[in-house]
């Protein structure tokens, strides 16, 4: 699949925002008395800013962004539609959570519970957009949901750690430990998905795509000389060495370096982890082999 920058930014930015919200809520749950309201107000503002940036990025993916409101219509069947509903709901609760802390309200924990639930719902919706595409075996697996959730939580924990360096130094150590654990856990689950996808046997073959039983079939023409939507949308167009480079980048930027940085230089942890996460998302698309590619092997 072709990795579209808008989708890479959308999924990583809102993932960081959702993870940060969960980190804020857990901080309030465990250390409410020791923290000033400004920590939560600033944190909630960060959550909303990250989600707005992700939302802006997502509009660049659409051919008709002015019709985006229509996307909420088919929530009964489409995970994309469910995400379109869950995202603003989560952003609204995150904003209310910040306002409640700012105004000194007593129901902040209740909003925190609601926001955390919506955050998890949003992780599931975002991941299911990919996991529900049955023809892409690399995506259609429960690990996709696990990875979107854990990588988002790890990203949010890194963001919370970096944020705490400036806003609540007392929280840096526990948050960095949480971030370390989440990054380590996400390394295990994402590693499992990488291993699974590396040895995956495609369900469809050129034989089943054409209905011709012969071991040796070669494409001689795909019906168009200058490419088509099919050659643009479903191929990443990069060399195998480039793809291997991205794999190295995602393993170091998304896991190895952040594991060291959260403990040694927490202020830098989020930026490095986010860069690694962009590489991770790029690879997520690139490693998905769409069966339609069987029909587009040779131009002529």
């Amino acid at each position: 699949m072709h990795p579209a920058l808008s989708v890479l930014l959308l999924t990583t930015l809102i993932g960081a925002g959702q993870g940060l919200f969960i980190a804020l809520f857990v901080s309030e749950l465990l250390a409410a008395g020791t923290l000033s309201p400004s920590f939560f107000v600033g944190g909630s503002a960060l959550v909303v800013v990250f989600c707005i940036l992700g939302l802006i990025a997502s509009f660049f993916h659409l051919g008709h962004p002015e019709r985006a409101w229509r996307a909420a219509a088919m929530w009964r069947s489409s995970w994309l539609s469910r995400e379109v509903i869950a995202l603003p709901a989560f952003m609204g609760v995150a904003a209310l959570y910040g306002l409640a802390h700012w105004s000194g309200a007593t129901y902040t924990l209740a909003l925190g519970v609601l926001g955390t639930l919506l955050s998890i719902v949003l992780f599931v919706c975002t991941a299911m957009i990919y996991a529900a595409v049955k023809v892409l075996k690399e995506w259609a697996h429960p690990l996709t949901v696990v990875n979107f959730t854990l990588l988002g939580c790890a990203s949010g924990a890194c963001l919370a750690t970096s944020y705490a360096v400036f806003a609540a130094p007392a929280l840096v150590v526990p948050l960095s430990q949480a971030a370390f654990s989440l990054i380590a856990l996400s390394l295990v689950t994402r590693g499992a998905a990488l291993l699974r996808n590396a040895t995956l046997k495609p369900a469809s073959t050129l034989q089943s795509a054409l209905g011709i039983r012969h071991p040796h079939i070669v494409q001689k023409s795909q019906g168009a000389m200058g490419g088509s939507f099919n050659t643009r949308e479903f191929f990443h167009g990069k060399s195998p060495s480039f793809v291997r480079g991205v794999l190295t980048l995602l393993l170091f930027g998304g896991f190895v370096l952040p594991l060291i940085l959260v403990l040694t230089a927490p202020a830098l942890a989020f930026v490095v982890h986010y860069g690694g996460l962009l590489a991770e998302r790029w690879y997520f698309f690139a490693e998905a082999q769409h069966p339609q590619n069987l029909y587009y092997q040779t131009v002529s």
Partner: protein, 239 residues
């Protein structure tokens, strides 16, 4: 229930692309809007097509066969592109089973094209909406056309008649008979999409005649004066 569909005879298709050309002509001139071309006369021509003819070579030299393979939307009975659409722009008609896109509702998110295993949906680069074969829905019901012309453009254009059009749910229709009696098959059955369009396989025409039959006395094609072949099974008069 009606399920309109195409049946494509790979034994007859000569790969002339007349169906591609006529499809483009009809659908780019229709009420549903143009199928845009980008840089059509330049070095890197590009455009939207509902139907493409691809060519494959089966076997290894010298035992090779060229297979021309027309590919358009298969109007699946379980279309994976429909439930994923967030706006409801992509839908399957209950009345005749045609899978269509409402261009006024489509937001151009391309999600439906990801769900389709066949790669038959193309985003129009100028209009930025998803487009696909409509089975020429704007002409097959057109009462102003004579009944024999109420067929998809690709079917009308096909010089050797490799394309059949009809209701695959009606067991007596020409398409159903063709699928039943000539080994019609669906593409990628493992995708569980239940395509309505079917393909008829290529077949070799061979003379089904055993050597020994040529030597039998009751064979009108018997070769007169042929020498006795001891390896052949005995026939009645020689016993």
């Amino acid at each position: 229930m009606t399920q309109l569909a195409l049946v494509i005879d790979l034994n007859v298709c000569v790969g002339c692309h007349a169906c591609v050309t006529n499809c483009k002509q009809w659908n780019t001139s229709g009420a549903a809007g143009s199928l845009s071309d980008l840089d059509p006369y330049g070095a890197d021509p590009n455009g939207t097509f509902f139907n493409r003819v691809q060519t494959f070579e089966v076997g290894e030299y010298p035992q090779t066969e060229t297979v021309h393979f027309p590919k358009s939307c298969l109007h699946c009975e379980d279309p994976p592109c429909v439930p994923v659409c967030p706006t409801g722009a992509s839908y399957k008609r209950k009345s005749d089973g045609i899978v269509l896109v409402d261009y006024d509702k489509c937001i151009g998110c391309k999600y439906c094209s990801w769900a389709c295993p066949y790669g038959v949906r193309e985003l129009d680069e100028k209009r930025q909406v998803m487009t696909k074969c409509t089975l020429c829905v704007d002409r097959i019901y057109d009462q102003s056309l004579p009944p024999e012309r109420r067929q998809p453009s690709c079917v009308l254009a096909c010089p050797p008649g490799a394309r059949l059009f009809g209701d695959v749910h009606d067991p007596q229709s020409a398409v159903s008979v063709a699928i039943r009696e000539r080994g019609g098959y669906a593409l990628m059955p493992e995708a569980a999409t239940r395509p309505s369009n079917h393909y008829l396989p290529r077949k070799k025409t061979t003379l089904n005649l055993r050597d020994e039959a040529l030597y039998r006395s009751d064979n009108p094609q018997r070769i007169d004066g042929a020498p006795f072949e001891p390896n052949l099974p005995p026939i009645a008069e020689e016993l």
